[in-house]
């Protein structure tokens, strides 16, 4: 078949909502776009372990400690699914990881903010995972099969995490004055960064148009962001807390919440690497990787020895 025939088959599948699978022909740009997005997503899971991991040793009850450890571990699991999905596109895990460490690949900027109080564990679950889910629910129907299937598994766990996060805040919101203050403070700090998670405004998003055409994405950044705001603006009432946006109010005609201006200057700065924790996060990941080099080498060497022994055994037999 000629390239343009292949392309037609591909586009027809997209049109007919048939998933693209690893062995199918796909345009290079589609592959590249997916690799970029999936690996960015994988890195976000892995880097995202760090801000929450910061509170494992200090979780205020054994039950919360167990829930938190399990949650961070789930994120590692999500990372694994996603690295595997990226591998189906011909990119090895090592390459993907190297791109993270070199700064070539990005991860969600939200994880460049520090977790400075226990309430942040609640706010991350509720707001950050909440924002992620809005995005991921859409991705469960993304056009690339392995990515869509990974997303289905991930979504199930993420909504569990979001409920847990909300519950942490709910307990705080019903606690002592100090706990209430802790809760409100965390919401204040995480609200705007979580809105930024949906990326730049539609007009300024580089990859969006093509992604929509290929049904990698199915809703625009601004649509997703609005959906999130509408959801959270209702849920915050249950907590008896407020969102730190004086312009936030229900717009009867739009049937949506209006909201204030996002600080895009901060957004672009954090993306560029100037967030409070960018250096710290990447260094933590690099250190883990570098200090683990001898372990990976030992495991490989041992596996080789084993294989040789087995082969020799077979030959001798």
């Amino acid at each position: 078949m000629q390239i343009h025939d292949l392309e037609k088959v591909f586009l027809d599948k997209i049109e007919e909502e048939i998933k693209i699978e690893p062995r199918d022909w796909m345009p290079d740009a589609y592959r590249k776009n997916l690799v970029r997005q999936i690996s960015q997503h994988a890195h976000s899971e892995i880097v995202g372990m760090l801000p929450e991991g910061n509170w494992i040793s200090r979780a205020p009850s054994l039950k919360r400690k167990a829930i938190l450890i399990a949650k961070v571990q789930d994120e590692a699991g999500h990372g694994l699914y996603l690295y595997s999905a990226a591998e189906t596109l011909g990119t090895s895990r090592e390459e993907t990881i190297n791109d993270l460490h070199s700064g070539k690949a990005k991860y969600s900027s939200i994880f460049n903010y520090p977790t400075t109080s226990w309430a942040d564990m609640g706010a991350i679950g509720w707001l950050v995972d909440g924002a992620a889910i809005i995005n991921q629910v859409m991705l469960c129907r993304t056009s690339y099969g392995p990515y869509a299937r990974a997303m289905v598994r991930i979504c199930r766990e993420e909504s569990f995490h979001q409920r847990q996060g909300f519950e942490i805040l709910l307990v705080l919101s019903r606690g002592t004055a100090e706990q209430k203050a802790m809760c409100q403070d965390a919401i204040n700090r995480w609200w705007w960064p979580s809105l930024m998670m949906f990326g730049p405004r539609d007009g300024e998003s580089t990859h969006s148009d093509q992604s929509m055409k290929w049904k990698i994405k199915r809703m625009s950044n601004d649509e997703l962001r609005q959906k999130f705001i509408d959801m959270i603006a209702e849920q915050v009432k249950v907590l008896g807390m407020t969102l730190p946006d004086p312009d936030l109010k229900w717009n009867e005609s739009r049937q949506h919440y209006d909201f204030g201006e996002i600080d895009w200057n901060e957004f672009w700065n954090v993306v560029k690497g100037n967030g409070p924790c960018n250096k710290q996060r990447i260094e933590a990941r690099k250190n883990a990787w570098d200090e683990g080099a001898w372990v990976r080498e030992a495991a490989a060497a041992y596996a080789n020895k084993k294989k040789l022994k087995t082969n020799n055994g077979l030959e001798a037999a």
């Binding site: 054994l62 450890i69 694994l80 606690g175 883990a288 372990v295 041992y302």
Partner: protein
């Protein structure tokens, strides 16, 4: 009354062992040498935390009143903690963590298997659930001991170092504390010193496959953890672990 006191101490000893080792292992979470092993060591941390909670909950019932798992974990001082010194040692490199887990799992496996037959039905129930988890921990950690011992020259050297670092803390595992002797006399447990022979055989077999040598000079063993005399590490562990509860006592979380 003395009966219960010793049983409480013993139950806390089991709980503290599991909690402190869980805390140490959880330091790897997000920092493991490879993602699959990050997940595995975190999983062991979670299992141990679960065991700790079961033991604390039982101790809280024995103590009665307002005792609770969190009161016991977060509001006792360093010299009331009864974990073995081995559990509180720094996580070190992956070799130290693996070796400690292997030593400890081999011990816990035998201990829980024995404890599952205790006349104390509560302890027996907790132990028989835990022994399933520990069976996996033992397999995983012994596979890693072999992989590192028989891997590269560097990994072998690191394992030898780890043995040098940790061996002096193994004697305490099999040296009964007064409260252990007490409930042993009462027939509640069989006695930890009876496990040592089988334990050393487990260690020896895995070491031999890993091309690692058992220390010949078993030397002087460090003790004290079981009766509240710890190394300098526990204080710092507790400063973090108990931070929130100490600052905000009597809160719900």
């Amino acid at each position: 009354m003395l009966h219960t006191d010793s049983l409480i101490h013993y139950t806390l000893h089991l709980a503290d062992n599991a909690l402190i080792l869980s805390q140490r292992n959880s330091e790897w979470c997000g920092h493991g040498p490879v993602l699959e092993q990050d997940i595995a060591i975190t999983n062991i941390s979670l299992d141990l935390l679960g065991q700790a909670r079961n033991f604390y909950q039982y101790a809280a019932i024995l103590i009665g009143g307002t005792a609770s798992e969190d009161k016991l974990a977060y509001h006792r001082n360093e010299n009331e903690f009864k974990n073995c010194l081995l559990a509180e040692q720094p996580k070190g490199d992956w070799a130290v963590t693996i070796l400690r887990q292997f030593i400890f799992s081999a011990y816990q496996y035998l201990l829980y298997r024995q404890l599952a037959k205790s006349t104390d039905h509560q302890l027996a129930a907790i132990a028989s659930k835990a022994v399933k988890e520990v069976t996996y921990h033992l397999r995983w950690s012994s596979e890693w001991v072999i992989r590192l011992g028989d891997g590269t020259a560097e990994s072998h050297a690191r394992m030898v170092n780890a043995i040098q670092d940790l061996w002096m803390f193994t004697g305490e595992l099999f040296l009964p504390a007064p409260y252990e002797t007490e409930i042993q006399n009462q027939g509640i447990i069989t006695g930890v010193e009876k496990l040592q022979q089988e334990w050393i055989t487990t260690i020896e077999n895995t070491f031999s496959e890993a091309t690692l040598a058992l220390p010949t000079d078993t030397g002087w063993m460090q003790t004290g953890g079981k009766t509240g005399r710890h190394t300098e590490y526990l204080g710092r562990i507790l400063a973090e672990l108990q931070y929130m509860q100490r600052i905000y006592p009597n809160c719900e979380w």
